[in-house]
C-alpha cells in the first residue's frame, strides 16, 4: 500500500513489517517488553508528517476519537 507521501512508501513498508510482527507476537500476547520499532517509526513519521504539511491535509487540531459524541438516531 502506498503512503500519501510518495517518498515515504519504503519507510512505511519497513515500519509496517516491524509493527505487524510486534503486534501479533508481543503486544497481543501481553508481552510488555518494549517496542522494537521506535527508530523505524520515527524515520517514517518524519517523512509522512512533512508530506501531510506539503499537501495541506487538514489533520491538525482533530482530537483523538474527536467526533465520538452522543449522536441522535434518525
Amino acid at each position: 500500500m502506498n503512503s500519501v507521501g510518495e517518498a515515504c512508501t519504503e519507510l512505511k513498508r519497513e515500519y509496517d513489517q516491524c509493527f505487524n510482527r510486534w503486534f501479533a507476537e508481543k503486544f497481543l500476547k501481553g508481552d510488555r517488553s518494549g517496542d522494537p520499532c521506535t527508530e523505524t517509526f520515527r524515520r517514517y513519521q518524519r517523512c509522512v508528517q512533512k508530506a501531510i504539511k506539503e499537501k495541506d491535509i487538514p489533520v491538525d487540531g482533530v482530537e483523538f476519537m474527536g467526533p465520538n459524541k452522543d449522536k441522535p438516531e434518525s
Binding site: M1, F19, F23, G30, R32, P72
Partner: protein, 210 residues
C-alpha cells in the same frame, strides 16, 4: 437531519487474528478505491492499550449530479481519518472513522466495536454504527440516501476484504470467485443506489422550480 445505520457481523476468525488483519487489510481485491494508507500517530497508553490514528486517501466516487456542488478546486480524492483503541486485556477494539474532506457536502462517521463473539470464542463480532449527514441546501436528503446506499456497499466490501486478508494470513488461498462475486454484487448495488439517488435528486430539483 442525520441518517443512522447499524449492523453487526461475524468473522469466523479469532479476535487476535482479526485485530492483526485489521492492520494488514490494504490492499485487498475490494479496496481499489483506497489509494494511500498511513499511520500518523501511535502510542501504547499507560494501561497498555494501543491507540493509533490512520490517514486514508480514497477516490471520491461521487456521482456527477453531486459533483456539481463541489467547488472546482476541491480534490477529487477524499481524506479519511480512522482512530482506534486496541485493548488486549479486555480483548476489545473500538474504531472511529470519519472524513476530513468534503465534510460540508456529506459527512460520514462510523464507529465499530470488535469483540469476541459471545456465542463462539473462536469468532469475532463486529458491531457497526454510522451517521450520515449533509448540509447542502435542497439536496441533503438525496445526498444522505446516496451516502447511506454507498455505505452499505462499503460494509459488504469491508467484510469481504477482511475475509480475504484473514484467509491469506492463515495460509489458505482465498477463492478467486469470492473477489469476482463481490465485484459483481458491489456493481449491482451501486447501480441501484445510483438510480435511487438520481431519482431523489431530480425530484428535489423539480421542486425547486415549482
Amino acid at each position: 437531519m442525520v441518517k443512522y445505520f447499524y449492523c453487526s457481523g461475524l468473522l469466523k476468525s479469532t479476535w487476535d487474528q482479526v485485530c492483526t488483519a485489521f492492520w494488514q487489510r490494504y490492499p485487498n481485491p475490494y479496496s481499489h478505491h483506497v489509494l494511500t494508507e498511513d499511520i500518523i500517530f501511535r502510542e501504547v497508553t499507560p494501561n497498555n492499550c494501543l491507540i493509533s490514528r490512520r490517514l486514508l486517501t480514497k477516490t471520491s466516487r461521487s456521482p456527477r449530479w453531486m459533483e456539481r456542488y463541489l467547488p472546482k478546486h476541491m480534490a477529487s480524492s477524499a481524506y479519511i481519518i480512522e482512530d482506534s483503541i486496541v485493548d488486549p486485556q479486555k480483548r476489545t477494539m473500538t474504531t472511529l472513522t470519519w472524513n476530513i474532506s468534503h465534510a460540508r457536502l456529506m459527512s460520514v462517521e462510523e464507529r465499530c466495536h470488535y469483540e469476541v463473539d459471545p456465542e463462539n470464542g473462536s469468532w469475532t463480532e463486529i458491531k457497526r454504527e454510522a451517521w450520515i449527514s449533509s448540509n447542502v441546501f435542497g439536496l441533503s436528503r438525496a445526498i444522505q440516501e446516496f451516502g447511506l446506499a454507498r455505505f452499505k456497499t462499503s460494509v459488504t466490501k469491508t467484510m469481504k476484504g477482511f475475509e480475504y486478508v484473514l484467509a491469506k494470513m492463515q495460509g489458505e488461498t482465498p477463492s478467486r470467485s469470492l473477489a469476482e462475486t463481490a465485484t459483481e454484487r458491489a456493481r449491482e448495488t451501486a447501480l441501484a443506489a445510483k438510480e435511487k439517488a438520481k431519482d431523489l435528486a431530480s425530484h428535489a430539483q423539480k421542486k425547486q422550480f415549482v
